[in-house]
C-alpha cells in the first residue's frame, strides 16, 4: 500500500517535471537565438573587418574588395547573419580566418582544457565551501566562524590576476614547486596535467570559495532560525542530524543555485586566469581571436559561452525544484 502511494507520487511528479524542463529548454533556445543576433551584430560593429585584418595595412583597395567578396563581406548584414545561422545550426561553425582550420576542431580542443580546469576547481570548491559554511554555522560567532568569514571575504576582494601573480611568485619563483605557465598538450597523462594546472586551479578556488561559503552559511543559518528546527530540538534530535539533515535539506535549493552560477563562471569567466597562466583554454582562445579579428571563432565561442550559461542556469532551476517539494512537482 505504502509502496503504491509512493509510485503514484512519482508518476505525478514526472508528469509535471518533464513539461517544465521542455518549457525551459524552449525558452533557452529562444534566448540563444536573440543572443546570436546580438553577437553577430556586435562582431559586425568591431572596427575594421576580417579582410583588412588579414591583408594588413599595405593592402590595396582592389585586393580588399576582392577578398571581401570572397568572404561574403559585401553582402547585407541580414543575409550574412542568416547564412551564418543556418550553417551554425547544421553544425558548421565555419573556418578560422587565421589558419583556415575548422572552428569546431580548434574549439573542441580548447573547450576540453577549459572544462578540465573548471571541473578540477569545482571538485575542490564545492566540498570545501559546503564544509566551511557548515563549520562556521556549527561554531557560529566563535573565533573559528569569524576567521573563516574574514579570510574568505578578504580573498574574494582580491582581483584574480593579483592572486595569480602572487601564487606564481610564492609557489613558482620562490619555492619552485610548480611551473609558472600551465602548458598542456594532447596525450598528456592525467597526473602531469593535474600538476600543470595546480596554480590556475588554486587561483579559481580562492576566487570562488568565499562566495559559495558565505552563501552556504547564510542559507543554513536562515533555515536554522525556523520553527521546525526548534521543533526538531524539542523532539530530541541530535545537533549534527539537525544541521546535516533537517537544515541542509531546506537550504539545498539556494545553495545549488549559487554553486551552479559559480560553475558557469568557472567555464566562461576565466579569461583573466587563463591569460595569466598562458593556459590554452577557451578564454585565451577568444582573446587571441578578437585580437586577430578572427570573426568566426569569436562568434562561435561567444555563443558557446552563452549556451553554457543558459544550460547551467536551467540545471540549477531543475535541481532546485527537485530539492524542494513545495515547488509543485509533488502534488
Amino acid at each position: 500500500m505504502t509502496i503504491a502511494i509512493a509510485a503514484l507520487q512519482r508518476r505525478r511528479w514526472h508528469r509535471g517535471l518533464w513539461p517544465y524542463i521542455a518549457r525551459r529548454l524552449l525558452a533557452g533556445a529562444a534566448l540563444l537565438l536573440v543572443l546570436s543576433s546580438l553577437i553577430f551584430l556586435g562582431t559586425a560593429l568591431l572596427p575594421g573587418d576580417a579582410a583588412s585584418a588579414l591583408l594588413g595595412r599595405s593592402a590595396t583597395p582592389a585586393a580588399l574588395a576582392e577578398l571581401r567578396e570572397k568572404l561574403g563581406l559585401d553582402q547585407p548584414l541580414i543575409t550574412r547573419y542568416l547564412t551564418w545561422l543556418s550553417a551554425f545550426v547544421q553544425g558548421d561553425l565555419g573556418n578560422s580566418l587565421m589558419n583556415g582550420r575548422a572552428v569546431s576542431d580548434s574549439i573542441a580542443a580548447r573547450l576540453g582544457n577549459t572544462l578540465f580546469l573548471a571541473g578540477f576547481a569545482a571538485s575542490i570548491v564545492i566540498p570545501l565551501s559546503i564544509f566551511l559554511g557548515l563549520f562556521s554555522v556549527r561554531y557560529r560567532d566563535s573565533v573559528i566562524d569569524r576567521t573563516i568569514t574574514f579570510v574568505t571575504r578578504g580573498l574574494v576582494a582580491l582581483p584574480e590576476f593579483f592572486v595569480g601573480y602572487l601564487l606564481i611568485y610564492a609557489l613558482s619563483i620562490s619555492l619552485g614547486w610548480f611551473s609558472s605557465s600551465s602548458t598542456v598538450f594532447p596525450g598528456m597523462s592525467l597526473s602531469s596535467r593535474v600538476v600543470a594546472t595546480v596554480l590556475p586551479c588554486l587561483t579559481l578556488v580562492i576566487a570562488i570559495t568565499g562566495h559559495v561559503t558565505t552563501m552556504v552559511r547564510a542559507c543554513v543559518l536562515d533555515v536554522l532560525s525556523r520553527p521546525y528546527i526548534e521543533m526538531a530540538v524539542l523532539k530530541g534530535v541530535p545537533h549534527g542530524t539537525i544541521v546535516w539533515r533537517h537544515a541542509l535539506a531546506n537550504a539545498l535549493s539556494p545553495i545549488i543555485n549559487v554553486v551552479l552560477i559559480n560553475l558557469a563562471y568557472l567555464v566562461a569567466g576565466v579569461v583573466v586566469v587563463e591569460v595569466v597562466f598562458v593556459y590554452p583554454g577557451m578564454g585565451q582562445f577568444m582573446v587571441d581571436s578578437v585580437f586577430n579579428r578572427d570573426i568566426p571563432v569569436v562568434q562561435a565561442s561567444a555563443l558557446l559561452f552563452a549556451a553554457i550559461y543558459i544550460g547551467l542556469n536551467l540545471c540549477a532551476d531543475v535541481l532546485a525544484v527537485l530539492a524542494n517539494p513545495r515547488l509543485g512537482f509533488t502534488s
Binding site: I5, A6, P227, L234, V237, N250, N324, T330
Partner: protein
C-alpha cells in the same frame, strides 16, 4: 510520598541583555501528576510558553533560567547534561507547538517526521513505528495512509495539528506539552482537534500541560488550571472551582470577558451601504464570493461571520475598492460607487475606512504615530502642520491613548495600543462606513474587550455604519444588530442577530454556534457541570 511526574519549583527565567527588563517567569511553582492534565492560562507575555519549554529542559536562545528547578520524574533536568535532556525529549516528554504549519519540516513526508523520535533510541523498529503512527493517525480521525505519505504543504492546518499530536504520542511519552495547539485553527476545526487530542490523551493516560489563552477552551480538557500573569502565578485550582468560584479579581475578569451581554436591539435605519449581487475573485481561479447582497444602515453594525476561507475578507476588499468585483454593484447613499478605488473620488474614499486584523502589518513601522494618524488629515482635509498636530492629539485622546505617544514608532507600542492607533487613523477621515476585519482577534482577551468597547462607543457617537468581519460569535452577539453567515463565498443565513444565532439552525450555523466553547456563568453557587470536562 510518591514523586510527581513533573515538579517545577520557584522557576525564574530572565531575558539576556537588558537587566532592567521584567522577568519572563518569576518564582513559579507547579506540579503535574501522572495521567492528569494541567491547564496553563494567561495572556501573551505571561510566560506560558517559557514554562512549557522549561518542562522539556529547554530555554530559548537569549533566555536563561536564573533560579529554581524543574524535576521530571525526580530528575533535576537542568542539573543534567544536554545529551541526557536530549534523550528525554521526544521519548518521555513531547511537545506540540502552536503552529503546526511552521513546525513541520517542509522537506520531509509526515510519516518520516512522526516516527523520527521513536526510531532514535531503538524503542521500535521502523515497521513497528510506522504501524503505530498509522494507528494513531486513525485514532485522530485522519485518513492515515494518505496523510502519512504527504508533505506538510499538502495537508490542511487542522490535519497538521492532529499529525503533530500523533508525532508527540508516537513514542509513548509520559508527559506532553501542548502549546496553544488549536489557536491557529478555525472555530469548528478547533473543536474537532481538541476532542481528538482529549481522546488520544485518555486512551494512553498521558499526562499533559495544556497552554492556552482561552479559559473556556482549557476548562474542557484540564483537571486543574494554573493562571499566570506577567510571569507570576495568579492562582491555581481544580478546573470546576476556578471557573465557578475564582478567588482573584484577575481570573474573574478573564471569565467575564468571555461572556458578552446582548446589548443590541433591532433597529431599522436609513441604508448607508448596499451590495447587490457581488461576485468576486482573484485573477485566476473560481470566484471567492458569489452573488452576495447585503445592506448596512447608517450607524448600524452588520456582522459577517464564517470560517477562514469563506470569503469574509475578500468581501471587505470589494467594499473598500481594493478588489474589483466581477459582477454586482456597490451603492453608497443610494448612488453607485466605482468598482475600483482608483476611480473613486476623494469623498467616496474618505467615506469608507478600514481597520485591519493585525496592526503590526497595517501600520508602517518606519512612520511615527503622528504621521500615521495625520496622513488622512493631510489627504482629506488639507490641514496645515500645526492644525494636524492638534487634531492627532485629539484623536489619540478619543481612542483613549496619551497624546504623548504621537512621537513614537509602532514598535514601541503594545498590541492593544497599536490597534487603537489603527482605529484613530480610520476615524480621522470621519468615515460613514467602517470595515473592521477581525480587529480584535490578534489581541488578548481583556485588551480585546476594551478595544471592542472603544470601537462601539466611537461608532455610536459618530453614527458610523460598520461591517464587522469576525469568526467570534460571542462578539457578534454583543455588538451586531444584524448578522450574515458566509460559507464558501455565499450567504447561508442572514437577519437580526438574535434570530440568526437562535434555533432552528441550518446545519452550518448550528455547527458554528456549537463550536463556541462556553463557560458556566460565574456564580457564587457551586455545583455546575462542565461540558466535556475531562476531570
Amino acid at each position: 510520598m510518591t514523586t510527581s511526574l513533573l515538579e517545577i519549583r520557584n522557576l525564574t527565567v530572565r531575558a539576556h541583555g537588558n537587566p532592567a527588563a521584567p522577568l519572563l517567569v518569576s518564582d513559579v511553582s507547579l506540579r503535574v501528576e501522572r495521567g492528569t492534565v494541567l491547564g496553563l492560562i494567561g495572556e501573551s507575555g505571561a510566560g506560558k510558553s517559557t514554562i512549557g519549554l522549561a518542562a522539556l529542559g529547554y530555554a530559548r536562545a537569549g533566555t536563561s533560567i536564573t533560579s529554581g528547578s524543574v524535576r521530571f520524574d525526580g530528575i533535576d533536568l537542568f542539573q543534567e547534561s544536554e545529551s541526557y535532556r536530549r534523550a528525554l525529549r521526544g521519548q518521555r516528554i513531547a511537545y506540540v507547538a502552536q503552529s503546526a504549519t511552521a513546525s513541520f519540516n517542509p522537506a520531509f513526508r509526515l510519516l518520516d517526521q512522526i516516527i523520527e523520535s521513536s526510531l532514535r533510541v531503538n524503542r521500535l523498529d521502523r515497521g513497528a513505528a510506522q504501524e503505530r503512527a498509522l494507528t494513531l493517525l486513525d485514532v485522530m480521525g485522519l485518513d492515515a495512509r494518505t496523510i502519512a505519505m504527504r508533505f506538510p504543504h499538502e495537508v490542511s492546518g487542522g490535519q497538521l495539528q492532529r499529525a503533530m499530536t500523533v508525532m508527540a504520542l508516537c513514542a509513548r511519552p509520559d508527559l506532553i506539552i501542548f502549546d496553544e495547539p488549536t489557536t491557529a485553527l478555525d472555530v469548528t476545526t478547533q473543536q474537532d482537534v481538541l476532542k481528538a487530542i482529549q481522546h488520544a490523551i485518555e486512551l494512553q493516560s498521558t499526562a499533559a500541560i495544556y497552554i492556552s489563552h482561552d479559559l473556556a477552551l482549557v476548562s474542557q480538557v484540564a483537571d486543574r488550571i494554573h493562571v499566570l500573569r506577567h510571569g507570576c502565578t495568579v492562582e491555581e485550582a481544580p478546573t470546576i472551582d476556578l471557573v465557578t468560584r475564582p478567588s482573584t479579581p484577575y481570573t474573574r475578569a478573564l471569565l467575564e470577558a468571555g461572556v458578552h451581554e446582548t446589548t443590541v436591539g433591532h433597529r431599522d435605519a436609513h441604508v448607508a451601504l448596499e451590495l447587490q449581487g457581488i461576485t468576486a475573485g482573484y485573477q485566476t481561479g473560481s470566484a471567492i464570493v458569489r452573488d452576495v447582497s447585503l445592506a448596512i444602515g447608517r450607524g448600524e453594525t452588520l456582522a459577517l461571520v464564517g470560517e477562514s476561507g469563506s470569503g469574509k475578507s475578500t468581501l471587505g476588499r470589494v467594499v473598500n475598492g481594493l478588489l474589483r468585483p466581477r459582477t454586482g454593484r456597490i451603492l453608497f447613499d443610494g448612488r453607485e460607487l466605482a468598482p475600483s478605488i482608483h476611480n473613486r473620488p476623494l469623498a467616496d474614499r474618505r467615506a469608507i475606512q478600514t481597520v485591519h486584523q493585525t496592526p503590526d502589518t497595517s501600520l508602517n513601522p518606519r512612520h511615527r504615530i503622528e504621521e500615521i494618524v495625520g496622513r488622512p488629515l493631510a489627504i482629506y482635509e488639507n490641514l496645515g502642520r500645526q492644525q494636524r498636530k492638534d487634531r492627532v492629539g485629539a484623536l489619540l485622546e478619543q481612542v483613549e491613548l496619551s497624546p504623548s505617544l504621537a512621537r513614537r514608532f509602532p514598535a514601541e507600542l503594545s498590541g492593544g495600543q497599536k490597534q487603537r492607533v489603527a482605529i484613530a487613523r480610520a476615524i480621522a477621515a470621519r468615515p460613514q462606513i467602517l470595515i473592521c476585519d477581525e480587529p480584535t482577534s490578534a489581541l488578548d482577551t481583556l485588551v480585546a474587550r476594551d478595544v471592542l468597547a472603544l470601537l462601539m462607543r466611537l461608532q455610536a457617537e459618530n453614527s458610523i455604519g460598520c461591517l464587522f468581519i469576525t469568526h467570534d460569535l460571542n462578539i457578534v452577539r454583543s455588538i451586531a444588530s444584524r448578522t450574515a453567515v458566509l460559507r464558501h463565498g455565499q450567504i447561508v443565513r442572514a437577519g437580526y442577530t438574535s434570530e440568526v444565532l437562535a434555533p432552528p439552525f441550518d446545519d452550518y450555523t448550528g455547527k458554528l454556534v456549537a463550536a463556541v466553547p462556553t463557560l458556566p456563568r460565574v456564580d457564587p453557587e457551586p455545583a455546575l457541570t462542565l461540558k466535556w470536562n475531562a476531570g
